[in-house]
Every structure is written in C-alpha cells, then in structure tokens.
Amino acid sequence: MTDLVRMEHIEKYFGRVQALNDVSFNVKEREIVGLLGDNGAGKSTLIKILSGALTATSGDIYIKDQKADIRNTGDAIRYGIETIYQDSALVPQLSIARNLFMGREPVKGRFGQLDQAHMNEVASNLLKQVGISKPIPPTTPISALSGGERQAVAIARAMYFESDLIILDEPTNNLGVEETQGVLRFVRNARDSGHSCIFIAHNIYHVFQVVDRIVVLRRGKKVADDIDPKKTTIEAVEHIITGMVEA
C-alpha cells in the first residue's frame, strides 16, 4: 500500500519549548492509525500541523508523494484532510443539512438559491450511511444533537466530500458507552468506504478496537511506529507510552 500522507522530520517549537523533535509519520491508504502518547506528548501539535491549524518550524509534508504546502485549515481541506474535534467544526445554530454543505452549498436558479430539497435528501442518506440508527430530520439544528451525533455529522461531511484523510482528535471524550461505540463504528465505516483515519484517544481500549497500526509519541519524539494491535497487548503499549520500556 502506498502512503497517503507522509510527514518528514517535523520540528515544532513554541518559543523555546520544543513540542516535536524530528518526528516522521505516515498514513497509508485505507488505514486507521492510532496516535498515542501521554498528556503533552505532542499528538495534537502534530495533527494540527497536518490540518493547517499550526505550521511546523521545520519539516516537510507529502500528500500522495507530492510535496504539500499547508498554511491554513482551508488548504488542508483542499488537500482532502478533514479534522474533527468535539464540536468546533460545526455551526451549532444551523441545521445538519446546512452544516454538511457549508461552504459548498448546491444552488439552483439565477439568484443563488439553496437547493434545500437536495441538501436534505443527501443529509438523510448520509446520516443512515454513517450509522445513526434513530431517525433525525436533516433540518434539526446541531445544538439539539448529542456529542456522538455531532461527531457523526462531522464524519458524514468528511465522507461525502471525499476527504482522503479524516483526523479525529479525542473524538470519544465526554461520550457515553453507546455513543462511543457509535463513533468507533463511524470510523470503521469511513475506512471501509476508502478513507484513511488518524485516531487520537487516551482510552487505549477504544484505540485497540479500531486501528490498524499504532504510533506512539513521548515528549515530542516518536518512540514507536509500527505496533500492530492484533499482535500485542494493551499493557505492552501502555509501557511504551509511559516510557517503562523502549519500543
């Protein structure tokens, strides 16, 4: 399998604090990578560089073997990289359908009229596709959804607009058991329909349930790259994260 995204020799300083120290990181096509590490290890910093929220002090990013210049989140989205946080990516007052199509609204006629019928229809189908089981009308405002349902909407949007890489930074935080299972299911569905994912979570059990490969950061350095969750134990990975064993 070829690399979808490759980050090479990434360094990031915040003032004199070094958050990332020569980190190289790749995601293959149709792969879910679990990014693990203790608090402050640099996980969020790394994916923020990829999603355009931060820029690296040095290092290169390649997307499908082409050097990529990602300066802001808009650039990243154009490169097919979608990042999903708890709710920051959605407009709470607007409906599910309007959020799905935000910035790429389908219009008809001469006056830029929204094609709301089409938007609602696509939204309904997508909600079913990501695996939301209860019937939620696509005109429901995001503010009326649970945390897990919001994740589902964000994932649905990434899938519909053919994002190649979906980044989830602690998507299961503050979610109940059932909602968490839902999110994990959405992630698997996304992979099965051809997308790659980066999955960050502190709960290693959740990570083990979905990912194909685990990468571990510790204090800004990559300490493990190729852990296969099927061939190791949670305890062993925990030891690598805390530094009790070197990988």
Partner: protein
Amino acid sequence: MEKRSLLQRFIARPEFGPFVLLAILLIVFYVINPTFLSTLNIGNVLAFAPELGIIALAMTLLLTAGEIDLSVGSVFGFSAVIMWTLFNSGVASLEIAFVLAMALSLVIGFCSGFMVTRMKIPSFLVTLGMLLVVRGSALYITDGFPQRTWDASGSWLAELLVGDFYIGELRVWASLLWFILLAVIIGYVLTQTKRGNWILASGGNANSARARGVRVNATKISLFMLTAALAAFAGIISSIRTSAANPNSGTGYELEVIAMVVIGGTSMAGGRGTIIGTVLGVFILRIMRNGIILIGVPGLAYNIFVGAIILGMMALHSWLERRHNAGV
C-alpha cells in the same frame, strides 16, 4: 424527534413573541383610543416606520453575522448633509450628489468592515469610533447648522424616493414600498440563498465556516457596506420627506434600530436572525411611540416602555430557546 403540530411549531419560532406583542399593542391602543386605527394615523405610522426600518433590515444581517454597527445614526445624518451641501454649493446636480453621498457611505462601511475583519478590532469599538468621526464630519462641514433643502417636489429622484400617493384615504409614501421591497429581498437572501447561509455560518462559528471555504471576511465587509449604504439611503429619504438636513439628525438611532432587531428575535450573539421578526420589531417600536402619545401617556415615558419591552422580549426569547432549541 416527535412531530409537532403547526401551532406548536409557530410558538417555537422566534417571531412568535414579537407577533403576539404587536397584536396586543394594536388591540390595547385601539380599545383605549379608536382613532389609533384611523386612516390618518395608520398613514402616519407607515410614513415614519420605513426610515428606521430600512436600517434595521441591514442591521439584522450584520447582527446575524456576529457584528454590530453603532455608526448608522451618524451615517444617516451625514449622508443627507453631504448630498445637500454638494447640491446647494452648485458642485453637483441632485442626482450626482445622491450618488456621491451613497458612494461615500459605502466607503465608510468598507473602512469599518476592513478594520473589523483584517485588523481584528471588535466591531463595537470600530463603529463607535466611526460614529464620532462621521458625526464630527457632518458637524464640521456644516458648522453645526442645518442645511437649506430646496423644495424637492418635481425632481424625479425625490419622487422615486419619497413620492406619495393615495390608496382611498390612505396616504402611502414611496419609502414604504422601498422598505417592503428591501425586506422581501433581504429576507429571501438570508433564508434561501448560499449567501444567507454564509451570513449565518459567519455569525455562528466563524472559524469553522472559514475552514470550510466560507469567505467570512468578505461576507462581513459587504454587510458593513450594505448597512452604511442603507443608513445613508434612509437618511436621504428622511431629509427629503422632512425638507431638513440637520447634521445632528439620526442621533441615537443606532440604539433604536438595534432594539427593533433584537425585539424581533435576532440574536446579538450571531448565527440566528429573522427579517420577519425585524419587520415586527420595527412596527412594535414605531407603534409604541405613536400609540403612547395617542392614549395620553406622557411622551417622556416612552423610553420606560421600550426598555421594559426589550427586557421582556429578551426573557421570552431565552426561555423559548431553552424550551424548543429553535434553529434554522
């Protein structure tokens, strides 16, 4: 989600509160003094309402996009002064003077929008500064004296802006037609179009909207320009109708306009706005002003009622919001 009856859905809408309030005002004023619904008085209300109403329409979009413009009252006074000064000094014909005054208002709006979006200064502060600069300019240009306005009758431009005609006994001003036309267009844009979705998204969550390719800054700048232009338009209409261009006119209008908009159910926090609500809000305040005098409450007490209504409506909106989680 359970199916709601038509009535329940109507109650959940942000326009429900102002609608009921307007109905109550009409009934109360009429019962106390039936001349309130006389043709003459209705004509009076309809003559005044469009001027602030036109500004309120633009302010609705601006608040929905999460910004505010405090300079509308100043622009209202300034543009009329500019137009009449240019005309009186013989520099320009009335038509050219009108175009120049409107163009200047667009520049003012652009400056506010630019400072808010590019320099990231809160719009409250930018437009507070602009309020003083524009009002100061109007006073400086005129030495503080009202401008002579010539009898505008006969000019096609004046007829177009503030001509009047009668429907039966009812005297209707062209400004009312402008208000209706603008309300329909702006209401359509806000609820039905891509541009409207961008306005809502910019006010609801600017960062995520921007990340998805919504041109938040351009959207906001264009709304500042629209607001200034409509404030200028209203000021010019008012100056022709009253045959007066006073450098102080429009003082305090910004607060009245904002009150109209929020009474109508538009959120000051951005992300939610309603043109129907604003139209209701415009009539609520104009009818209050008119009706209070008709029923014999001292005019000086007007502000007490307006203040109480604003507070009451805010309480109602926040209560409804918590109950129904109304959205677009």
